[in-house]
Amino acid sequence: MTYVGMPTPKETPQETMAKIAGTAAGMKVVIVGGGVSGLSAGWWLARSGAQVTVLDKGIVGWEASGRNGGGASHYQSPLFEEEQRMWPHMDELLGYPTEHQQERLVIAVSPKQLNQYHYLAKMNNDMGYRVDLLDGDQVRSMVPLAGDNCLGGMHYRFGGHANPQRSVQAYAWALQDLGGRIYQHNPVTGFETEGGKVVAVHATSGRHECDAVVVAAGPQIQGLMAKLGVVVPLAAARAEMIVTEPAPMMPIGGVDGNGLYGRQTLRGNLAYGGGPHEWLETFEAGPPARPSSPLTRNLARRVAELFPKAAHLNVIRSWAGIVENTPDGRPIIDRMKDPENVTVITMSGVGFGLSPASGHAVRDLVVDGQCSFTDIKKLSLSRFDGIGADWREQRGWQAPQAA
């Protein structure tokens, strides 16, 4: 189940589970937000013996976590090796299917794309992650839907993809099976602090006492943390995807390129996204709508170019999700100094794939105060200390209304 192209892990996930069992016994943790980040953290904490309560304003995974591309190949992240170690075991550890599949192909239909992919391949090989370069014929033999326009590509001998909705539900159910509680339709409205700690979280379901809090509320983190006097710079944007009817199964479903990310699902559907995003205002109650736009047509075009042999397939749905972004596009995973029992996690648009590892990091911060398996200091909130109030304007990231 390990990857050809990744360093061999020092420990099996099962050994890790045995090691953490009971380390947080009796600890009451309240998690704000039932997306993948909050649920994975909750699951890791429950595996450590904590009493976990997850509060979500709606249904688990209803925001970005249930609307994303399902990609799990974020080699740039310090969490990546841990993610790679965990994913192949997640079905077994959670007890529910996630549809996780290994490996990834990225294929080019223009010389510029091919150049870009060669650069990325080298960047990965330099890190010790194996990427094989492919010529057009090699791609065509591995990707039956590719066409004569394909110039070549690269084969990540690592990475992969999973079904976002199924995975979110798997985390949630596994958490419940460990005694964790999930309150849906339960927005958190405030915190009660005492002696530099949050002692209770207020939600529509009432007051939830806690020893520790994890704030994993996506774009809403900014408003929630402001209540605690902490500035978390975040900007929300809408991103869109389309999906076709099932195509014949390809040997590796994780194929993208041509300016798209996405995958062939285990059912055969081609689900792809990419292209321009729209910056939005963030509302405390969550997004009022998640509309898709005529960008559907530009996505359809790129999928048809990527897979000429699938161009006749029907598109059956489009959708949009709201992406949380930090000013540098990198996650924030950090335990606060004040209140000192609050941990913040937001993944800046790459949170699904990394979720098996991000939950582990949060567990470590909550229980031990530091991450046990990798250095995550460069993901701390303090890198944005003193960021100007106009950081969105400086980047052109403001919502158009405000422009």
């Binding site: 249904i59 007890g95 299917p97 292209g275 321009p276 052109g396």
Partner: protein, 486 residues
């Protein structure tokens, strides 16, 4: 840190294109209501575009889009040219509309309506997205009239997932507009006005009607219509229901009723009810309301959009359509078996749906098997979109047309609530399944191409962690950013 100096080249900005053409009025649907609206608009001197998706392409009909054709169309439907002629001849008002200056496009579906509003400001103006057999495009409008009619309501029972089980609206389409119905002898399910009218139409068109099955104790529709059916020697099977459709390789051959009676027919016509076609309204995020007397969910007030004809709601005769179909759903549910298919596209059985089980190509470990709709309901009211994602019911190529309504009814029953206590599964554009190559914008702007990025175009995002804050960081950023705008 990477700054864009106040502009983000990868944001939507002004990249979405202006419409190819603009009309004072765009009318979707060329039935009587749409034609009347188009003629009225033209009479006022407006520029009017009238689109209608008929004749439906054979492939779509095979997927029961947009009506439940049940595989009972003749091969005539494979000839696009001939169908176009037949459809045109079947509606004399089409010619009148053209003479009045209306631009009429047949074989053209409207698959989306887009406008700025919550969560979207990037559109140059409100547009309707269209497609014909060759291409997709968008048009602008001042006034939008939706006259999209009503679609078939399907409720499953053992054997319903085979050719020969169809809907009343589909039968009407095949008989009255396409001259392409392949069946000879039919049994009609239901006895309200729709069922009675279907019986009389079929009889007039030379189709043998073996009877009408009614779950209640008396015919439900208009007394005069029921009398006309009786006068035509068409029997009613009252307090009865189809227990099983039995067939062979060409589909239905006979029906066994709950009472035990067996009837030889080649087609079972579901005429329990029609559902106003609110796909476009719902997909554009428009308002809708539930009105049992008008056929279920109907459009609410939506600025700039007028709904006319059946899509605005069925005629209110005081009959509660929702209560009636719920009664049928309970009865047909009781006659169903655990392995009775609910979602035909994804082959989801009743047991899988109620058990919230994943499709067969996935493992079902013990914890998974212990889950069910009951355990899910403990966490909050069931949401069809959530159930759909887990079971795949409604996720197929028919876009949930065959199972959306029965799933909604099943969920309401499972939650012990009335229909409407469970939210409606959302509709999403494209509201018709359309090939990638047709939807594709092959003439997109240079701005769109230049600004395209696979993700957000934030170069710092992709720098390997170990290279952050080192001299290599800048190198990666530059190389990565150069690769954008593919």
């Amino acid at each position: 840190m990477h700054l864009n100096n106040g502009t983000d080249p990868h944001a939507i900005g002004t990249k979405l294109p202006a419409p190819e053409a603009r009309y004072d009025m765009v009318v979707v649907g060329a039935g009587p209501a749409g034609l009347a609206a188009a003629l009225a608009g033209a009479g006022e001197g407006k520029s009017v575009l009238l689109v209608d998706e008929n004749p439906i392409p054979g492939a779509a009909m095979g997927n029961d889009v947009p009506l439940l054709f049940g595989g009972r169309m003749t091969t005539a439907t494979q000839s696009a040219v001939r169908m176009l002629e037949t459809v045109f001849m079947s509606e004399p008002q089409l010619e009148a509309a053209m003479e009045a200056g209306v631009e009429v496009l047949l074989g053209t579906s409207a698959w989306g309506v887009y406008r700025n509003g919550p969560g979207m400001t990037g559109l140059p103006e409100s547009v309707v997205a269209l497609a014909d057999k060759d291409r997709g495009w968008i048009v602008g409008y001042n006034e939008l009239v939706l006259a999209t009619g009503a679609r078939d309501l399907a409720i499953g029972f053992p054997g319903w997932n085979q050719p020969g089980v169809m809907g009343a609206a589909a039968l009407e389409r095949l008989l009255a507009h396409y001259e392409a119905f392949a069946g000879k002898r039919i049994l009609i399910v239901g006895s309200h006005d729709l069922a009675l009218e279907t019986a009389l139409l079929a009889r007039d068109k030379g189709v043998e009607v073996a009877g009408l099955v009614e779950v209640r104790s008396a015919p439900q529709g208009d007394a005069a219509l029921a009398e006309a059916v009786r006068a035509a020697q068409i029997p009613f099977f009252l307090e009865d229901a189809p227990a099983e459709a039995i067939g062979g390789i060409d589909g239905v051959e006979r029906v066994r009723l709950r009472s035990g009676a067996e009837i030889a027919v080649d087609t079972i016509v579901l005429a329990i009810g029609l559902v106003p076609s609110i796909e476009l309204i719902d997909a554009m995020g428009g308002k809708r309301v539930l009105d049992g007397a008008r056929g279920g969910y109907i459009p609410g007030e939506n600025e700039g959009v007028t709904c006319v004809g059946d899509c605005a709601g069925l005629a209110d005769t005081g009959f509660d359509h929702v209560e009636y179909r719920m009664e049928w759903a309970r009865e047909l549910g009781a006659l169903s078996k655990p392995d009775t298919i609910v979602c035909q596209c994804e082959e989801v059985t009743r047991a899988d749906l109620l058990g919230v089980q994943p499709p067969r190509y996935l493992e079902r470990p013990a914890p998974m098997q212990a889950r069910s709709l009951d355990t899910l309901i403990k966490d909050g009211p069931p949401n069809p979109d959530q159930i759909k994602r887990l079971t795949r019911a409604g996720m197929g190529v028919c876009q949930g047309r065959r199972c959306r309504d029965q799933v909604a009814m099943m969920l309401a029953m499972a939650a012990d609530g009335p229909f409407g206590s469970v939210p409606l599964a959302t509709h999403r554009a494209p509201v018709r399944p359309l090939p990638l190559r047709i939807l594709a914008d092959w003439e997109e702007s240079e701005e769109m191409r230049a600004g395209w990025d696979v993700w957000f175009g934030i170069p710092t995002q992709w720098v390997p962690y170990r290279d952050i804050d080192t001299p290599r960081e800048r190198e990666h950023q530059t190389a990565i950013a150069e690769g954008w705008s593919l």
